[in-house]
Symmetry: C2
């Protein structure tokens, strides 16, 4: 009997193991899952046969029956943003500690993808989902409530009492940074937003306006810019900010990636940071600390939020009793580095 190379390898099932070891499939199942009772000899035999013929369980069948996959998913807008990677890492830790695996889903900032994931969660083969949606409309919320699997949302400050959420008020974060900039004597502060039609986009812009009002500063639309939440987006927007003559003495960026792009452009133009223009970001990604000059930023505690969300979700998944939805909150923290304070001397 020869094995035809390249032919689709036949699936060896629990039935094969049962036949070859002369027991019933029920017994094989019990031995393999160490459930119920079975004899020592039987176990040895079954295990040996299973190894010999290369049995490997079919998880499709298994989870169809058990109604669980022991996997959770994390859906974020852009894996290219280190802040989401940091979040993913802490989610993965928690998941692993509970015997769950993490599946990463990148929506590429597409609302359609977000919808798709929520709508047919079972297609992801997971028991639950953590999602940090870029868009969070009523429709999103409706879908989330109707979902058959537990979902935890990581988002801004607008919470829905019926949805498990981990919140952070990034508008407040922007205000923190604005205070700082103002305290440093900056007065023409430009705001570089990411996509303004997104949850973070809206919140951060609002924070900017709120600061202006609080400090009795004029609202100058010529100082407001928008681009993508990316390095390239920041770089590209910087060319605009500089060349359209807005003449700011500081640029408040909606995230670190953009801020890094801005720094790059300013440096290329020999504009001194922070002397000529101060730059502040948001998210506290590792590259910010490493940049030159190092980037002042506002931490939104991504890792912490990931951990909280994961614990919330796993608690839902593993605990028996029905608990009502919970909203957890985290508060932004300002991290001052070189890009915003002029060193005298």
């Amino acid at each position: 009997m020869t094995k035809k190379t390249g032919s689709p390898k036949a699936e060896v099932t629990i039935t094969d193991v049962a036949k070859k070891s002369g027991v019933s499939i029920a017994t094989v199942s019990r031995v393999l899952n160490q459930t119920g009772r079975y004899g020592d000899d039987t176990a040895r035999k079954v295990l040996a046969v299973a190894r010999e013929i290369g049995y490997t369980p079919n998880y499709m069948a298994k989870s169809l029956k058990r109604k669980k996959t022991e996997q959770i998913a994390l859906a974020v807008a852009d894996m290219g943003n280190p802040v989401y990677v940091a979040m993913a890492k802490s989610v993965q830790q928690v998941a692993k500690a509970h015997g769950y695996r993490l599946v990463l889903l990148s929506t590429e900032a597409l609302a359609s993808e977000e919808f798709g994931i929520i709508k047919s969660l079972s297609r992801q083969y997971v028991d639950g989902l953590i999602i940090s949606p870029l868009l969070y409309s009523d429709e999103h919320r409706e879908l989330i409530k109707e979902a058959k699997q537990p979902i935890v949302v990581i988002t801004g400050s607008e919470s829905d009492p019926d949805i498990d959420s981990v919140l952070v008020d990034s508008s407040q974060g922007v205000q923190l940074a604005m205070e700082h900039l103002l305290a440093q004597g900056r007065s023409r502060i430009a705001f570089l937003n990411g996509r303004p039609d997104t949850v973070p986009g809206v919140a951060r812009l609002n924070g900017y306006y709120a600061s202006l009002i609080e400090h009795g500063l004029p609202r100058d639309e010529n100082l407001v810019f928008a681009s993508d939440f990316t390095l390239a987006g920041g770089y590209q927007a910087a060319t605009q900010i500089i060349n359209e003559g807005a003449k700011p003495d500081a640029i408040m960026c909606a995230n670190d990636l953009m801020a890094l792009g801005v720094i790059r452009y300013l440096r290329e133009q020999d504009i001194r940071i922070p002397h000529d223009i101060a730059v502040v970001g948001m998210d506290d990604i590792e590259h910010g600390a490493t940049a030159y000059p190092s980037l002042t930023t506002v931490s939104l505690l991504a890792a912490e939020r990931g951990r909280m969300a994961a614990e919330l979700l796993l608690n839902r998944l593993t605990s028996e009793e029905q608990q009502k939805p919970r909203q957890l909150q985290v508060v932004p923290r300002l991290i001052v580095r070189e890009s915003s304070v002029v060193v005298q001397g």
Copy 2:
């Protein structure tokens, strides 16, 4: 009839739809999948009912029957490394174009995770896998050949003719960079490796030694360092390189992330780059172009390799005829930026 809030939502199945619309489950299936023949009226009715009672297919059952999930997985060592993100993005594009979804798996540089993924691929609920393993032992290869689902490996130059692979000789890449540094008049070139027990670690170190030999340079073990393939790893190693008195005039880093960490430390110490020490990385991540000074690097065409691997895999998945395994290769490219050439004037 009241809906008990918070109670586990009951799964609505194809049977419910069938009952409520007064047809058989077979018909429902046909309508929902637009397969076989069915009457227009029936279709309308079924669709309406399905929507009304919120039917959503159970993918577990579906793929148990059909033996396909229309998903593929990409397993990489560290999602925190932008080079893998770039790779993931191009894989995702190809996958999407073929109607497949991409599931991201991060092994956190753990060999055990890599093994686990290959061994029980069915647990990932995917039809195929692309893996860029940090370790690639005989055992890895054995497992890959025995796998029931197609696997494509993205790795160095040591190919196995029985395994679909996308290769790049990073040793050659290091040599390219070394030529460049030597041409710039550097003579005490330190090598900062990542984990030396990994595929890239071994290859890159070999490239370094090969260059030395080729140019008749002495092999000085005091110039060889190793750390993690991360930003923090690079930073930490730089403190060693500088403080242990190796006195190099250039540092060849095994990847960009490490190089960025090195640059950070050198700058903190007011060591001029490239004047005092030139720095070169490898991978060509976006942050390298943005760094200060911008980073000379060697592109290993990550995006390109991702695309090739994805196409190879999807071809396996969708084409009927059995083809024999293929090995594709890509060649490294030097990208010269500020960190390695002194500008005169």
